[in-house]
Symmetry: C2
Subunit: 471 residues, 2 copies
Amino acid sequence: MTPEKRKQEQSVAALVAPDILELLQNDPASIAAETEELHPADLADVAELLPRELVLLLLMSLPSARAADVLEYLNEELRSEVLEAMDAGQAAAFLTGMTPDERVDALDEMDEEAADEILEAIPEKERAETERLLQYEADTAGGLMTTEFVSLPETDTVEEALATIRAMARVGRREAMGTVYLVDGRGTLAGVLSLRELLAAAEGAILRDVAWTDVVTALATADREEVVRLTSNYDLVAVPVVDADHRLIGVITVDDVIDVIQEEQTEDAQKFGGLEALEEPYLQSSIADLLKKRSPWLIVLFVGQMFTAAAMGYFQGAIDAATVLALFVPLVISSGGNSGSQATSLIIRAMALQEVSARDWRRVLGREVVLGLILGTMLGVVGLLRVVVWQWFGLYPFGDHYLLLATTVGTTVIGVVLFGTLTGAMLPFALKKFGFDPASASAPLVATLVDVTGVVLYFTIAILLLRGTLL
Amino acid sequence: MTPEKRKQEQSVAALVAPDILELLQNDPASIAAETEELHPADLADVAELLPRELVLLLLMSLPSARAADVLEYLNEELRSEVLEAMDAGQAAAFLTGMTPDERVDALDEMDEEAADEILEAIPEKERAETERLLQYEADTAGGLMTTEFVSLPETDTVEEALATIRAMARVGRREAMGTVYLVDGRGTLAGVLSLRELLAAAEGAILRDVAWTDVVTALATADREEVVRLTSNYDLVAVPVVDADHRLIGVITVDDVIDVIQEEQTEDAQKFGGLEALEEPYLQSSIADLLKKRSPWLIVLFVGQMFTAAAMGYFQGAIDAATVLALFVPLVISSGGNSGSQATSLIIRAMALQEVSARDWRRVLGREVVLGLILGTMLGVVGLLRVVVWQWFGLYPFGDHYLLLATTVGTTVIGVVLFGTLTGAMLPFALKKFGFDPASASAPLVATLVDVTGVVLYFTIAILLLRGTLL
């Protein structure tokens, strides 16, 4: 790492945290003024660096609206901890200051009892809005949307629209205000235009005549991955959410979409590593959490791997006759796991980006057969040479039949790599076909599936080639 | 997959592609009118589904500005192919209609000679702008930024600003227009406010007095990952890019940040699977490309794995004496690779999200020691029982000393899982420390490192425990 890079890593929060810590301990009354210039995201990062018992003090030292801003950026676990620790009235005041979607997220993460108590203390209007949003599952478009957006009658003029937006902006509504949505008399989404397009429109024009009428929308019940797809495909900065009657009920802002993308990617990466996805960041997860996410797959894989012991037991006669055969078992079978891991990672990722769909399986199979054969032949030759060269240079005495042994190793590697590649490439398709998440096809799972087959293939080829000589 | 889910997968493009294909073949003159309602992103998706030779015809059948829009959404490989296939003047006309950052991306992807020829044919003003942008490396903030943004003198009034923006919007500049950047007399970035905030500002106010003065910026030379971090940390929809003198030289829009996030994650996923990251999507990559990206790591890993054969050779005496020992080699060593893969995937992802930094290695080590011991003990007990239960139920005759054999297997598994967990967790830190990409710590690499140690540990424990009985 270059020094320049290292310097970048020192975040704003890390730089100011010591000073803020000192102020909190000696002069909390000055906190609000001293931190005024900091971005709420940085102040949230500072809070994450502080001892837990001081986070509450920090928030209470700030003006309520400012504390609400900081809470929006705080990591979920710390946020629920802090909100649960304060009295319900105070927590409700902070939550009321948050944007509707973040408020709902915060309540979603909390203990149900604590959440209910706080909800009771939120003013009528915001409470109704919050309760409506709480109905949607967190992983749907409805669960991501905010209700702070600009929707105007499609019959308004450009001037009327600008006046309304100006008034709304002045009372401090914050989210999803760069885009203006048009609705008809029944609340049905009828068009969209950006604030910039509104400014560019001829004076006196009717909104309906200057807006885009073909609007990309997400159903409230749509999966959050669909929202990611729409945002990324159409380069959107906000996705309007509609109900079954195409009535506009909310808007998802791009910052929440980015959070979803990163969460989904984290889940996929962890699943590919062979564990259940964590709910919290690694360092915030307890040892018990980590055990719960890691041990089930480890045990399943270990039990699956027991079939290698059974397979080896089945061939113990061959091992007894030629123990030299045993030496190459790990080498031979691992080549299948490695090539399978490559193929699986490619296919899972291509599926996640929708570059490859379920219908493409034949095309993928065709390519991977070719690749598996070529890669297998490359490794097979290396494996064959490993035996031959060691023998020639006297590095290890494989005996008179070393050429047959070398051929056994080389041939098996071709077969194992081909089988590993195909298993790795087809497993995500198979999982998807049967309704499972293709991302569950982890590297260790592929390796385990391939190892057992590798053992059987190796000894079968050995018996065929070495019968009458070593065996 | 539920029927509802399957229906969603049928994209707009897939639905309309057959009709467009037919029009192209029979009545290309009507294409422009017939596809008028389609989003350019959908039309780009249609182009990707068409036979290659018809894509050019499709683009030429559209008005020039519309074709430019479609080109912005087209996948990179197809885009350079199509642009290279048309004459330079036509390509230049299309490129001129694209946003500056996309224009630069398109040229960056093309054959240098073709790109130069097209650049020559672009009008003076756009050419100069393009050449300036081309100076920046594609993976830096400068390489991502567009030059279409709104910057105004900080001394302007709100009314002057609105009039300017209105004029700019009317001539059709498109990107990064939701945010207004203020500059002083020397072009130094002095403040920022959103279009909404501008609308909300009191009439007659000076921009400087109503804008935010603490602006989050990226240096033009900053790595694109820094841009991702800023966008995601501060929930930005646009990141202003400055030169070393803090002069505003461009703006990065959030849609490009999302592309970077997805590209980086794809690279990380492929590296973790044990191959070099691909430059093109899987199905667009040639077999030769895939071989070039996959074979080097496979060979390196295969050669590394040869140490298992050497280690087993070293212990061939023990195997000769008790071939039953060989049966458990794959089972025992795979437990280390699996637990290592889990730990590596967790740490790499946490590093990518900057949840874990280089300084946290001790904390991670402490947690993983505990986890490795617990997970190892769980698997060790299962492994011990595997031998004991098979013996008791007469499923396999391990001989009189089966309890010692069981203890050997169980003890080794504890050690191998602990070692695998620690190797997996620490390898990303070690790679980072020595200037490598921590994401290179792939699942197959960890497995290979751990397998060799596993073999040595297993036979060493066997010799210690079984001396005088089986050995």
